[in-house]
């Protein structure tokens, strides 16, 4: 997300796709965002170099979920990856068409995280599913997502597949603690809410009621020129439970967070992400 005088622009959204349900949900969310912000989408499918190598190794076998064992070969693996890429492309094309958004799509081969990071450098926002294909069965946050959280140089949109109903932006939540980076998050959230014509809820993290009043004044001033409906909600200084409950109460709401907020260390954010199912927009 690049900022300029008088506002920020969001031109290019990179969507990292692996044809999993989560990444398909991410496509939908990205398309909606792109439509609201008049950005274009770029799809990226990475053929995992690990899988290519795996298929070329003589000693490896594939164990199916039915507990049967099959041999692996390169040709078969490439065909499977091609099929996944085609599926991802199709999903991206369909979502973009629905949202009337410009799009492009490409396939790269290499280590997944590396390829995504390389591509992200040229984008304003990186979108990806919270969990990928290669997840371990019980993980709540995929390995690529974790890597991006730590290393991606751009804003990040993480989306989880929801079993009921398609993704649709209805409300924007933003966590605000008065810090500068939180101010940026607030600004982005307000713009998004305005562009999508939805409500904005500002979750203020503070223990001090006086400070809270100041915080609210500053925040209100920052977004006063946006024509949006704003709700204010004060929460104790990162009281994990209450923040979690507020966010969980509306799983369709988009959560906007700053990754460099002093009151929200990265580890805390990681934990938070594990517990919520909302789409999350992380600002650097």
């Amino acid at each position: 997300m690049s900022e300029r005088e008088g506002g920020f622009t969001l031109r290019r959204i990179l969507v990292a796709l692996d044809a999993s349900a989560h990444s398909l949900a991410a496509v939908e969310a990205a398309a909606e965002l792109a439509a609201a912000m008049q950005a274009e989408m770029e799809g990226l499918f990475v053929e995992d170099i690990n899988l290519i190598r795996l298929a070329s190794l003589p000693c490896t076998r594939e164990v199916r979920h039915t507990a049967s064992v099959a041999s692996l070969d390169l040709e078969q693996m490439e065909r499977a990856l091609k099929a996944q890429a085609a599926e991802a492309r199709q999903a991206l094309a369909a979502a973009a068409r629905r949202a009337h958004v410009q799009w492009s799509f490409r396939v790269a081969r290499g280590p997944v995280a590396h390829e995504v990071l390389a591509a992200a450098a040229a984008a304003d926002l990186l979108t990806l599913g919270k969990l990928g294909r290669s997840r371990s069965p019980q993980a709540r946050l995929g390995s690529t997502a974790l890597r991006m959280l730590a290393g991606a140089p751009v804003a990040l949109l993480l989306v989880e597949h929801r079993r009921v109903g398609a993704y649709r932006l209805r409300r924007v939540l933003v966590v605000y603690d008065g810090s500068e980076s939180a101010g940026r998050a607030l600004d982005v959230a307000a713009r998004l809410a305005e562009a999508s014509c939805v409500n904005l809820t500002v979750l203020m993290l503070t223990d001090d009621s006086e400070a809270m009043q100041d915080m609210k004044l500053v925040a209100a001033h920052a977004i006063e020129r946006r024509s949006i409906e704003v709700r204010w909600q004060a929460l104790g200084l990162f009281e994990g439970h209450s923040l979690l409950r507020v966010i969980q109460s509306d799983e369709a709401a988009l959560l906007v967070l700053s990754l460099s907020s002093p009151r929200l260390p990265q580890a805390t954010v990681g934990k938070l992400l594990e517990h919520i199912r909302n789409p999350v927009l992380l600002i650097r």
Binding site: I49, N50, L51, R53, L54, S56, L57, P58, C59, T60, R61, E62, V63, R64, H65, T66, A67, S68, V69, A70, L72, M77, A80, L81, A83, Q84, P111, R133, S134, R135, S136, P137, Q138
Partner: protein, 808 residues
């Protein structure tokens, strides 16, 4: 032989003297206590409804319009009111076999209460069950179970990953499953690098991978088992929580219905089913329609397909009944009698369940009385068979026709049959009753009581007073003006005319009601408040006028000479017969010319009508009797050597009945005796082989028919009609006929024998055999006999051809 005199005017019409009545108008009279003249029918109904044995159903037989329905239904309503109210019946789901819904018997008036209670229960369950499942306690216990399962999985994968890592091997997810691969710098080892490894190392890795793979396989085989165990545990937990949530709600109901064991049994089944299906209360399955269109459906029990299973379908509700039911089914189709399973269309497919079962008339009348019109039952496909089956088996089994006839073999409902105890009362014509008795073996078994309705009563003074009360009662029921006693007397007279008997009164209620209504109409038109005799007369005249176009056309054609009927002069072998035509409800008489010709022959009387099949069997019988009479009387000792032909002139549509047989005999005698018959007279009456004239029907219409023709041509004072003496008691002639007879311008002769008749018709003596066995010279009989002898001799002469040839 004494000459037959014309009847006195008093004999032609038995009036009803208004002065015999004490009342001024019919408004002063009370209603009848019992149906007039139907003592036999009333007793049969009392018997049939009183006897509680199998097969004692009733058939009320009698002509339509005699008030059968009213009499029977009034009686039954009165009787039923004092009888106990029968049970309510419902159909409820059989949870272990929904194709076979259970019938539930409840004390009268309780069914609706149970239905409402069940609706409330489901509503309550839909809030109390989710509430029970939202408690912290439940959530924690559920999480513990879920964690257990998760741990199983995590532990296995963690173990495998751990073991792999120690050996430099990683677990990788592939598009098709899982695989183990040797690692190098956190990535899968490059195949080239792998090849560079020493042989020993490569073998070690392969061996390790194989071992890990086998472990993974074993774990994957175990995984469904862990999941299943988890599900079982969760189910047990859900069951425990549900039992708690459901128990107290159903306990309340159980307490309420503790005196009704089938209801308690049903509630137990409901409790069991709710516990089994508790998930449905937590996440109500969306209706397919809602899922397709995305529209939220109103949260109503009835519209939620799943919750239909707990409905109570009330088939019979006696909450508003007083006494036993009396049901009249106007449209007794198979379904309306037996009940049916309706079908509902849902997204193009049709389905049915216990909630779509609908009661039939038999359900509604169960424990009471069912009135049905026999013709309608018989004319509806399979309704009669269905009714008989229900009565025979003593239970109502709802089956579609397709099922009953084994035409359809798709899965359908088989509701539990409901025991049947009902008195069925069929109403119908007598002919139908007799036909059913003859043709349907089961009819006698199932309808043992015949209720036979009279269509007429004796015209005694007491009955005339009852009849006056009937008139008053009908007038009140129909909200008609009151009838003064003159009008009542006129109605009574007309009723005798309808009965076709001066000594009887018609009990045809519909005709009577029509006359009263029409008399009321004319009275109101005149602006008077009480119906008088003249209004009744006007109503009668108007009825006749409206119906008499055909009669007038016929008379017109006679007057114009198209149809040839003489009313003056005398002709040989020609006589005026009389017949009755009844195209609709109105009957009228008209004369027909009957002629006879004789010649030598072999003793046959040829009836031309019969030869061309324009006559019915009774007419033919009458003609054959003539040969018997002729042969026996005139030709007992020699063969009858004539050939006679008889014909109804200008008759083109067939003749039936033997009422013209005396006329045919007169024509034949006239032809034989070559003696002319007076055309101013007309004749009716049948004749037997002994020459006695016998009674016929429609005597009034016949006399009036001839009178009308003579009157139109001008009464000469010679004209008249010969009727059988035994018909005199039936005479209820029109006023103008009676007046003409009074003035000596028209005559009605009661005739007992053919001899009396021929004397009147020819003006000659008929003649009786003297001691020597001969008829007096110049008498008709003498002439006939002489002619027959002559014919016989001629025939005998023809019979000996050789002799005659020898003579020449």
């Amino acid at each position: 032989m004494e000459r037959i005199e014309s009847l006195e005017p008093q004999a032609l019409y038995r009036g009803c003297d208004p002065e015999q009545f004490q009342f001024k108008t019919s408004a002063e009279l009370d209603d009848l206590k019992v149906s007039i003249g139907q003592a036999r029918a009333v007793e049969a109904v009392e018997f049939g409804t009183g006897i509680h044995r199998e097969g004692y159903n009733l058939f009320a037989a009698g002509p339509t319009g005699t008030g059968k329905f009213k009499m029977v239904s009034d009686f039954l309503r009165q009787k039923a009111a004092a009888e106990p109210i029968p049970s309510d019946w419902c159909y409820v789901n059989r949870f272990d076999d929904p194709q076979k819904p259970c019938a539930l018997e409840l004390p009268p008036g309780q069914a609706v209460g149970l239905r409402q209670a069940m609706e409330r229960l489901v509503e309550d369950l839909r809030s109390s069950i989710p509430a029970a499942f939202e408690t912290e306690d439940y959530r924690t216990r559920k999480q513990v179970i879920e964690e257990e399962v998760k741990e199983h999985h995590t532990k296995v994968f963690d173990d495998l990953q751990q073991q792999g890592q120690e050996k430099g091997i990683a677990l990788v997810r592939t598009p098709g499953g899982l695989a183990f691969a040797p690692m190098q710098k956190n990535e899968v080892m490059d195949p080239e690098e792998f090849q560079k490894l020493p042989q020993q190392e490569r073998e070690r890795i392969e061996k390790d991978i194989k071992a890990l793979q086998q472990q993974l396989q074993a774990s994957l085989r175990q995984a469904p088992q862990w999941d299943r165990e988890g599900r079982e545990k969760l189910k047990a937990l859900n069951r425990e929580v549900a039992t708690f949530a459901v128990g107290h709600l159903i306990d309340e109901l159980r307490k309420k219905y503790t005196a009704i064991p089938p209801a308690v049994e049903f509630l137990n089944a409901v409790q069991q089913d709710v516990i089994e299906n508790v998930e449905a209360f937590l996440n109500p399955p969306e209706s397919p329609l809602a899922a397709m269109t995305g529209t939220p459906q109103p949260q109503q029990t009835k519209s939620q397909p799943f919750f239909r299973r707990y409905l109570v379908n009330v088939m019979v509700d006696h909450s508003k009944s007083e006494g036993a039911p009396v049901v009249y089914e106007d449209n007794p189709t198979y379904q309306n009698l037996i009940g049916q399973a309706e079908y509902m269309a849902q997204l193009g497919a049709i389905f049915t369940d216990f909630g779509l079962l609908r009661a039939g008339a038999l359900h509604q009348a169960n424990g009471g009385y069912l009135l049905l019109d026999a013709v309608r039952v018989l004319s509806q496909p399979y309704a009669w068979e269905g009714l008989k089956r229900a009565l025979r088996s003593g239970q109502i089994r709802i089956e579609s026709l397709g099922q009953a006839l084994s035409l359809i073999s798709t899965a359908s409902l088989e509701p539990e049959p409901i025991p049947l105890s009902v008195k069925v009362l069929l109403l119908g014509e007598r002919l139908l009753y007799y036909l059913l008795c003859q043709r349907d073996d089961e009819f006698d078994e199932l309808f043992k009581v015949a209720v036979d309705f009279n269509e007429e009563i004796d015209r005694s003074p007491a009955n005339q007073l009852l009849y006056a009360k009937l008139i008053g009662q009908l007038a009140r029921q129909e909200k008609l003006l009151p009838f003064d006693r003159g009008a009542v007397a006129r109605v009574i007279e007309h009723s005798a005319r309808i009965a076709g008997d001066a000594e009887k009164l018609s009990l045809h209620n519909r005709t009577l009601s029509d006359l009263l209504r029409e008399a009321d109409y004319w009275t109101r038109k005149e602006g008077r408040a009480v119906v008088a005799a003249e209004d009744v007369q006007r109503a009668i005249d108007s009825q006749v006028y409206r119906a008499s176009r055909l009669r007038d056309r016929y008379r017109e054609e006679v007057l114009r000479g198209t149809l040839m009927i003489d009313t003056e002069g005398a002709k040989v072998g020609q006589v005026n017969g009389l017949s009755v035509v009844q195209p609709g409800r109105f009957a009228f008489g008209h004369p027909s010319r009957i002629t006879a010709r004789v010649r030598l022959g072999r003793g046959e009387v040829v009836d031309i009508e019969r030869e061309v099949e324009l006559s019915g069997p009774i007419h033919s019988k009458g003609v054959l009797i003539l040969s018997g009479f002729l042969g026996a009387r005139y030709s007992s000792d020699r063969s009858l050597s004539l050939s006679a032909s008889l014909v109804f002139e200008q008759s083109y549509s067939g003749v039936e009945g033997d009422s013209a047989s005396s006329a045919e005999l007169y024509a034949l005698l006239s032809a034989l005796a070559e003696t002319p018959i007076k055309q101013s007279l007309a004749v009716t009456g049948s004749v037997n082989q002994r020459g006695e004239v016998q009674a016929i029907g429609g005597v009034n219409e016949k006399i009036e028919g001839f009178f009308d023709l003579c009157h139109a041509r001008g009464l000469t004072g010679e004209q008249g009609v010969l009727i059988p003496a035994s018909n005199v008691k039936h005479l209820m002639l029109r006023r103008d006929v009676v007046e003409a007879v009074e003035a000596g311008k028209f005559h009605v002769y009661p005739v007992q024998t053919i001899d009396q008749g021929i004397a009147l018709l020819t003006g000659l003596e008929a003649g009786e055999r003297d001691s020597a066995g001969n008829f007096p010279e110049g008498s008709v009989n003498h002439r006939v006999e002489a002619r027959l002898i002559a014919l016989a001799e001629k025939r005998a002469a023809f019979g000996q051809p050789s002799q005659s040839r020898g003579e020449t």
